[in-house]
């Protein structure tokens, strides 16, 4: 990475951290439970959307399987970190070996990410040779497979029924910290060798092949990292919500995460952050409105599904006006005039950037 790229990555990181820090500060200042809840949900959504961006944004291939990996992370961490005395009740059929394990939920989050990445690494290689419609439909098939396994693997998931007794561990601070880390990872990946070649293949597969790019290998790497992030996001969510069933990791969640990314702009990390922020805020606002209308009884019937319909309409509207989302190709950048104040960068004018590169450290 040239020093110019490094300084622009740091600049972008600083800007993209703002919504997360803002959520944290507002929540702290107000001290209202519901605000803390919404801020935490935003951070968790952000982790999931960033994970999807890493694969989908850089490879240009729509992936439906993402939420399946979220589920793997959620179950892995929930089960492994469940208190021993809870396990007999929550998961009566659990294998004896797993029954004897109780790890910290924070370690569980990392393990959840690793398990999701491991599964992705093992199953996805053949899928990565596919492009276009074939790739999309196989990713959908993968989601169906993962969902079916979650529904039927009674020993580990309690089957289609709700799994109770998951440790509560995800605070706003933890969610925000992980979200910022994931922004950093997504930005670094985008500028990495794999990231650049993946984006090249996204823009023109034939040309990428003609310069010697191993396209399926680059895609595979992106997919595994993406699944790792999804697994961590799922684990964060599991330790926040503390009881859930396999249905949480299916079409509705897929639509929400996909919607956030597509509205914000899949091609950039900035788009992922913006999408997660805007859509989470709009969602929670609409839900508030929906609830108060229903409570007040002004309407003869209960209002349901307002949030989903609004998201669907927003998605259609934005895609008509801006097919690549709000922030499509370029990351938000720190204004040149202010860059000198960034930590760890020595901003140089473009004319001098060559000599700076030679002296820079990799």
């Amino acid at each position: 990475m040239t020093s110019a790229t490094r300084s622009s990555v740091i600049g972008t990181l600083v800007i993209l951290t703002v919504p997360v820090v803002l959520a944290l500060v507002i929540s702290e200042a107000l001290g209202i439970r519901v605000v803390d809840r919404i801020a935490t949900i935003f951070c968790i959504n952000l982790v999931l959307v960033l994970g999807l961006q890493v694969f989908m944004g850089n490879s240009g291939i729509l992936s439906f399987a993402h939420v399946g990996f979220m589920g793997i992370g959620a179950y892995a961490s929930a089960v492994l970190s469940m208190p021993l005395q809870m396990k007999g009740m929550a998961l009566p059929e659990l294998y004896p070996i797993v029954k004897a394990i109780e790890i910290s939920p924070y370690l569980g989050m990392v393990v959840g990410g690793l398990v999701a990445a491991g599964v992705a690494a093992a199953v996805s290689y053949p899928l990565m040779r596919l492009s276009d419609a074939a790739a999309v439909i196989t990713s959908f098939a993968l989601l169906v497979v993962l969902h079916t396994i979650m529904v039927h693997w009674h020993q580990m998931t309690n089957g289609p029924r709700t799994l109770f007794g998951v440790q509560s561990a995800t605070t706003l601070y933890i969610a925000a910290g992980v979200a910022i880390l994931m922004i950093f990872i997504a930005l670094i990946f985008r500028e990495s060798r794999t990231g650049i070649l993946l984006r090249a293949a996204r823009d023109d597969e034939v040309a990428a092949g003609a310069i010697g790019t191993n396209i399926s290998n680059m895609r595979w790497r992106g997919f595994v990292l993406s699944a790792f992030m999804a697994g961590i996001g799922g684990a964060l969510w599991a330790h926040f919500i503390t009881s859930f069933s396999p249905n949480a990791f299916y079409l509705k969640e897929t639509f929400v995460i996909l919607g956030m990314l597509v509205i914000g702009g899949a091609g950039t990390v900035s788009g992922a952050v913006l999408g997660a922020f805007v859509v989470t805020a709009a969602f929670e606002l609409l839900r508030l409105i929906e609830n108060s209308i229903n409570l007040s009884g002004v309407l003869p019937t209960q209002l349901v599904g307002l949030t989903e319909i609004a998201l669907a309409c927003a998605m259609i509207g934005i895609l008509i006006v801006r097919p690549s989302g709000i922030i499509s190709a370029r990351e938000v950048a720190f204004p040149d005039a202010l860059r000198r104040y960034l930590p760890g960068t020595h901003f140089t004018r473009p004319k001098q950037s060559r000599s700076a590169d030679e002296g820079g450290t990799q």
Partner: protein, 248 residues
């Protein structure tokens, strides 16, 4: 035939029964510039595609520096040191010019710093510094062409195949390009094959010519030999006459 050259040996290519190439043999030697000419539809692009693995070969062989690469996938062929440009430009539209050039060095497996340095050199050489941070899609046509050539060179190829690199350029642009291309093979010790319809440009640039018509070789050799070759005159006049008929 030389040991270190890129060779097509009796290569034939078919598209749904249509024989686009019929037993064509051609050799590109390191350090030389070979012009590949012929009327529209004579199979020039198809020959480049056959050399780089983009179309399947029905019969014949492609040999690169003694190694038979017939039927290899484009990626493997690229990594063996055969780089190309496309008749219809193929840039990475959402990558910056710098990134576009860098990709070829990265794909080749160069360490990041070296890839950066090489891209920077090529941007200098091709006068692309001003637009280094512009996205590929936002460039004008002439710049796109130059970026594509710079990208091909970033992999330090042994052979560079250029499919109509000056098409769509204005006269100044194509003159500048010609000056740049003329020095390449010697400077970078690579063999270069160039397709173009601009005969004055081809005559000034190339050391040797290879002429195709209807998928067959009709002449090859140095410029004067080819220029006076009856089959060449006939093919060019013939196709011009046909084109004139067509427009009438």
């Amino acid at each position: 035939m030389r040991q270190d050259s890129l060779q097509a040996r009796g290569v034939s290519v078919e598209f749904a029964g249509l024989r686009a190439l019929d037993g064509v043999s051609l050799e590109v030697v390191p350090g030389e510039i070979l012009g590949l000419i012929g009327p529209n539809g004579s199979g020039k692009t198809t020959l480049v595609n056959a050399l780089t693995g983009q179309v399947p070969i029905v019969s014949g062989d492609v040999v690169c520096a003694g190694e038979t690469i017939t039927g290899e996938i484009p990626r493997k062929i690229a990594l063996l040191g055969i780089a190309r440009s496309f008749q219809i430009v193929r840039l990475f539209g959402n990558l910056t010019v710098r990134e576009n050039v860098e990709t070829a060095a990265l794909a080749k497996g160069l360490p990041r710093r070296e890839a950066d340095a090489r891209a920077e050199e090529l941007l200098d050489e091709f006068h692309l510094n001003q637009s280094a941070d512009t996205l590929g899609d936002a460039l004008n046509y002439g710049d796109k062409r130059r970026v594509e050539i710079a990208r091909a060179l970033a992999s330090e190829p042994r052979f560079l195949l250029l499919d109509e690199p000056a098409a769509g350029m204005n006269e100044t642009e194509s003159d500048t390009l010609l000056d740049m291309l003329a020095m390449l093979p010697e400077k970078r010790n690579c063999g270069m094959l160039i397709i173009d319809h601009d005969m004055p440009l081809i005559m000034r640039l190339c050391h040797r010519l290879h002429v195709l018509a209807s998928g067959r070789t009709i002449a090859e050799g140095d410029i004067d030999t080819v220029r006076q070759h009856p089959a060449v005159i006939e093919a060019y006049l013939g196709s011009d006459a046909k084109a004139a008929d067509h427009h009438a």
